[in-house]
């Protein structure tokens, strides 16, 4: 059986071409004009991208299945145009054993809506005290390691992790936060936090660790990925490190490209996130960084939370917001990216960082696995929380008008989303 994705513009590495894409089973068998197949997936007026890859998703399973499961997150991801998610390790139990890694991957396989690639913990239980079995986890297929949710505070331990990373050929992804500087903090340290009388989260808490890990990457040669950059100075540090030829990469979230600290003056914990929403000046620097290639990828930091947890007080409520279904629209509404740049930051670069380029982030060529998403770049839409596939509703984008809509998603040659509706 064949499916033809018809009438769209194929987004390649160098440019955009009007072409149809013919898929048989799970492989692209032809790209060209006037193709026909058993089934037609309409892409007229739309762009055809390689399926998106999210470097940073919290799937909450195992442990908090009341807020999200691997299946519901997979469905949310598919609706957002994703065909691969990197699952963050801060589940309960955490991703520090082969058993948990295999469980997460297997739950992803069962859901069958996209590829779930578990990240591994850098330290046991993400406690920052002893290394996780990095080689064992790597042998089980883990390519990216992080203690996300917290940064590895101890530089001795981080140095050892980087030495391992070299020998295993894996990437260390850092959540940059010097925790001694962020005790009790609920938002960016700024005039608003002083008005509100809440402990501020200083930019330097992030920048100190970015700087430390750049220096450690220089010494060890390890590949270091910086998660969710949020400050202007962090962008400068990474830009300089890249200019020096160091082995570093970076990501930014849609919310850090679009929302500012002033939203916290509503006292609504939906806006509490780690790292915190920063200033307009930081947003401008992050946009410049994304456009000039300092920042390689957009990553969602999709973080589902139960309503009851987001109804706690501002200091008690957990940080985080969901983002899989809104990522593309939020990014395109905030930053003027052309289709080739969109494919780079949403698919090709994250696939490279996650070391999954054999299957994802391809050039939509003959022989590539059929991971595709069809996007209407001109369409506008409003976020309706009741229509989200995620099990949680903690989106800060309710009622926002977004530009850029995922029409359809194809995963391994199967249509997972059609006309915005999940197919299973």
């Amino acid at each position: 059986m064949t499916i033809v994705v018809k009438g769209g513009s194929v987004v390649g590495t160098n440019g955009v071409d009007s072409a149809d894409v013919l898929v048989e089973n799970d492989v692209i068998i032809k790209v060209g004009k006037n193709l026909t197949g058993d089934i037609t997936l309409d892409a007229s007026g739309c762009h055809i991208f390689p399926g998106f890859v999210d470097l940073h998703a919290h799937l909450r399973e195992p442990g908090r299945e009341d807020t999200e499961t691997i299946e519901t997150a997979s469905r949310a991801g598919a609706k957002g145009g994703y065909t691969a998610l990197i699952a963050m390790p801060n589940t309960n139990p955490a991703h520090d054993s082969v058993t948990v890694i295999e469980f997460v991957r297997e739950q992803g396989r069962k859901a069958g809506l996209l590829d779930v690639f578990p990240s591994g913990c850098i330290t046991m239980g993400r406690q920052g005290e002893a290394l996780a079995p990095l080689a064992e986890l790597s042998a089980a297929g883990v390519r990216i390691f992080t203690d996300d949710g917290s940064g590895v505070q101890d530089p001795v331990l981080m140095g050892r992790a980087m030495q391992y990373a070299i020998s295993l050929g894996v990437t260390m992804a850092q959540h940059c936060e010097v925790s001694a500087l962020t005790q009790g903090a609920v938002m960016n340290e700024c005039g608003c936090s002083s008005d509100m009388g809440v402990p501020g989260w200083p930019a330097i808490a992030e920048e100190m660790m970015v700087q430390r890990d750049i220096e450690m990457s220089r010494i060890t040669g390890a590949s270091v990925h910086f998660l969710h950059l949020s400050t202007a100075r962090s962008v400068d540090l990474v830009r300089d490190a890249k200019a020096e030829g160091l082995n570093v990469t970076a990501e930014v979230t849609p919310h850090h490209l679009s929302l500012t600290q002033e939203l916290l003056t509503t006292f609504d914990p939906v806006y509490k996130v780690n790292p915190p929403l920063r200033s307009m000046k930081d947003i401008q620097a992050l946009k410049v960084g994304l456009l000039d290639g300092t920042i390689d990828a957009v990553a969602t930091d999709h973080a589902p939370h139960a309503r009851r947890d987001k109804e706690l007080t501002l200091d008690q409520a957990p940080p985080g917001m969901i983002g899989l279904e809104t990522a593309l629209g939020v990014v395109l509404s905030a930053v003027d990216l052309d289709p080739v740049q969109i494919a780079a930051v949403m698919s090709r670069n994250p696939a490279r960082i996650a070391q999954i380029t054999e299957q994802h982030g391809h050039n939509i060529g003959v022989g590539d696995i059929a991971h595709l998403c069809v996007v209407d770049l001109g369409a506008t839409w409003q976020v309706d929380p009741s229509k989200l596939a995620s099990k949680s509703r903690n989106t800060p984008f309710v009622g926002r008008q977004l530009r850029g809509m995922v029409r359809s998603t194809m995963y391994r040659g199967q249509i997972t989303v059609q006309d915005g509706v999940a197919q299973k």
Binding site: G191, G197, V198, E311, L314
Partner: protein, 306 residues
Amino acid sequence: MKHLRSISETGAEGLLRILNLTESMAEINTRAVPKVPALRGKTVVSLFFEDSTRTRLSFETAAKRLSAETMNFSVSTSSVNKGESLRDTIETITDMGVDAFVVRHKSVGVPWQISQWTNASIINAGDGAHQHPTQALVDCFTVREALGIQDLSGLNLTIVGDIKHSRVARSNIQAFSALGANITLVAPPTLLPLNIEHWPVKVSNDLDAVLASTDVLYMLRLQSERMAQGLVPSLHEYSTRYGLDDKRVAALQASAVVMHPGPMNRGVEMLIDPSDIPNSLIHRQVTNGVSVRMAVLFDLLSAEEM
């Protein structure tokens, strides 16, 4: 006005209205039987998640003098101890039929959060280090009364102490600046908030340098936990540099007045016995607390039907 959650939400107009209303309430409080039927049928709930003497008792007294029913919520004997959420607590009490919540909580923003879960009026009796609007109203009223002036423009107010963690300071800065006063904050650098260039204040680290030009000296409490956090090197250093002693009282203008929101830390910020301060308004602040809170309750709850 539906709620009193912050001074900025009240605006200068609301501030003046409540201050003027307070004068009528103060008159009631001089009567032999200080009670009027103004809020008969209304129910006011005190919801104190944090300890309080002055604020709690003065709100309850105020409600009773206006003939409102009062409900008392004690966290230590409530279902909060069984893990009931803030939302469920608010909705449960709302279901019983209440007109106003007087709420104090250690977490900033709670009065705003709970106003989504009830139709009752919310009066902020202190949220973390953020706001304590009725204290600011008390302080403005007390200064007007003591100095016999309505207009505070040109008045030099000096607030001394832990500004960073003080809801009293934040509310007073908003209230006194709305009434035209010049405000100077005096504190060690670590007890001043960062990034406050936009606040309508001058800042100093030197108390002795500002005493001579001060009309109202407002001393804040230094909580002992600030020591534990290492924010000041020692209590001795703090009280030497920022404590009010007889020498500093003598350095004030004869007309200057001294205030403190209580509870006082004697031996820390108050090295002199308050009764030895000639122009202390500390007792007037407490007395006026009842009248101000009567005015606030009346303003919020009687306006509803108009």
